[in-house]
Amino acid sequence: MSAHPSRAASDAPVLSVRDLRIEFPLGVVVDGSSFDIARGQTMGLVGESGSGKSMTSLAIMGLLPKEATTTGSARFHGNELLHRSDASMRRTRGDQIAMIFQDPLSSLNPYYTVGFQIAEAYRAHKGGTKAAAMRKAAEAMDRVRIPDAAGRVGHYPHQFSGGMRQRVMIAMALVCEPDLIIADEPTTALDVTVQAQILDLLAEVQEMTQAAMLFITHDLAVVSQISDHVTVMRFGRTVEQGTAEQIFSSPRKDYTRALLAATPRLDDVVDLPEPILTKGGE
């Protein structure tokens, strides 16, 4: 019954990245990244622009442009992901490893219904009839709580709000029951109220499927809410790694402390100049 025999050995990490180094002709963008993610755990990869966090995820998915040179290793259930053929990577990607990106509108094809696109993702890996795949699509949409999922499989991406589109992307990521979910800034483009719902949904989905998750974001507050472990990156290097609690309660590195200090807080009270409310008054 298990398509994933290695699930039995639950102590072994689902994803194990070692000394990952990514170099472009113009320079090194990731220099020695190492981390493990176990089943049901989330690794938050956090950093500012240019830190190499997205490059790390693209390398794991085999989506780096051809001019990039990678060394080191990224093992998924013990199998090397780097330097695989495109065809072999395509079999894994979308099936055992799913991806969720920042902008659902550009990740979805505007010409096809969302049900068709989810069903295609399923059929590409699992086969079966179109009708069966469409039922799977409706099920997946229902699981991410898109209201009236069975009725909405026939709708096009533009007929959904931003938050609902991101739910469609999550449904597509889940339909093949992946062991690893890579989410790259999945809530960055969303309004805060929608972001809160999507973060709840991702946590819930992970609880249910026990997938490992690599969650990439620039937002420390988001990371603190969703991660078990955190890796802080800067200029391609790992600055600090630890449990979420350790990183946020006792950061060891100056850069981590500076990032935390720069993160605005809702209950921070800052001194501002006094407005001039009276005539000629100070």
């Binding site: 805060v192 620039h218 603190s224 935390l260 807080r265």
Partner: protein, 269 residues
């Protein structure tokens, strides 16, 4: 105590409808009123489509309101044109979200920063360059870089160019439309600090539009919360953040992700 001053800017019952078809209109902003005093910052928060940017554009006279009025220093400006509009615009400047797309990539920093002076026809011979250099220096840019192009600067530096451009005509009001949203947090903190320093120094007022409530708390004296084109609640910063009355404000505040307070070591004390 002397008398209450006339607000620097007062928006009264502003509305904006856009035509979406032959007989259809979409109301982007409806019945919005607020005022801003000197050296005061009004934060306008809301989610996408709430009408906050449309409001900003009406205040800056980039678009005309369908109804309502805007008074600047006690004077109605919605009908201004020509020289009087130009005068108004020397008093009100804007800073936008994306410095790269709001700064002409083919113009040097000097040309970009001095553009409002040229529009104002205030190009006193020889004075322009020294004003540009002074403005660059004030926002923390190296004045020797005035012959470079916007793309040669980082996002935070490019946003400083946008601020220098706004400052050069010594405006009384600067409208910041998501001015720090695209910046990394460490850069964002520096730009916010610069804006507050400039306010202290020059008595500037800001209308600070942002979707990020935590950022608004760092800079605004008072806050207006917009939803679907209307202001659902407005008041002094601490009242809005600590004791929100409207359901939507409560929902917005509850949705803001925060660093788990048990762990939060980076909190300023």
């Amino acid at each position: 105590m002397s008398d209450i001053a006339t607000p620097l800017l007062a928006a009264k019952d502003l509305s904006k409808e856009f035509r979406t078809g032959r007989r259809e209109t979409f109301t982007a902003v409806e019945g919005v009123s607020f005022d801003v005093h000197r050296r005061q910052t009004l934060g306008i928060v809301g989610e996408s489509g709430s009408g906050k940017s449309t409001t900003a554009r009406m205040i800056a006279r980039l678009i005309d309101p369908t109804s309502g009025s805007v008074e600047f220093q006690g004077e109605e400006i919605t009908q201004h044109s020509g020289a009087s509009l130009r005068d108004f615009r020397s008093g009100v400047q804007m800073v936008f979200q994306d410095p790269y797309s709001s700064l002409n990539p083919r113009h040097t920093v000097e040309e970009v920063v001095s553009a409002p002076l040229r529009y104002q026809k205030r190009t006193a011979a020889g004075g322009c360059r020294s004003m540009v250099k002074a403005a660059m220096e004030r926002v923390g840019l190296n004045p020797d870089h005035s012959t470079r192009y916007p793309r040669q600067f980082s996002g935070g530096q490019a946003q400083r160019i946008g601020i220098a451009r706004a400052l050069i005509v010594e405006p009384k009001l600067v409208i910041c439309d998501e001015a720090v949203s695209a910046l990394d947090v460490s850069v964002q903190a520096q730009v916010l600090e610069l804006l507050v320093d400039l306010q202290r120094e020059r008595d500037i007022s800001y209308i600070f539009i942002a979707h990020d409530l935590a950022v608004v708390r760092q800079i605004a004296h008072k806050v207006a919360v917009m939803q679907k084109g209307r202001i659902v609640e407005q008041g002094p910063r601490d009242e809005i953040f600590d004791d929100p009355q409207h359901e939507y404000t409560k929902a917005l505040l509850a949705s803001v992700p925060s660093i788990d307070p048990r762990w939060d070591a980076g909190r300023r004390s």
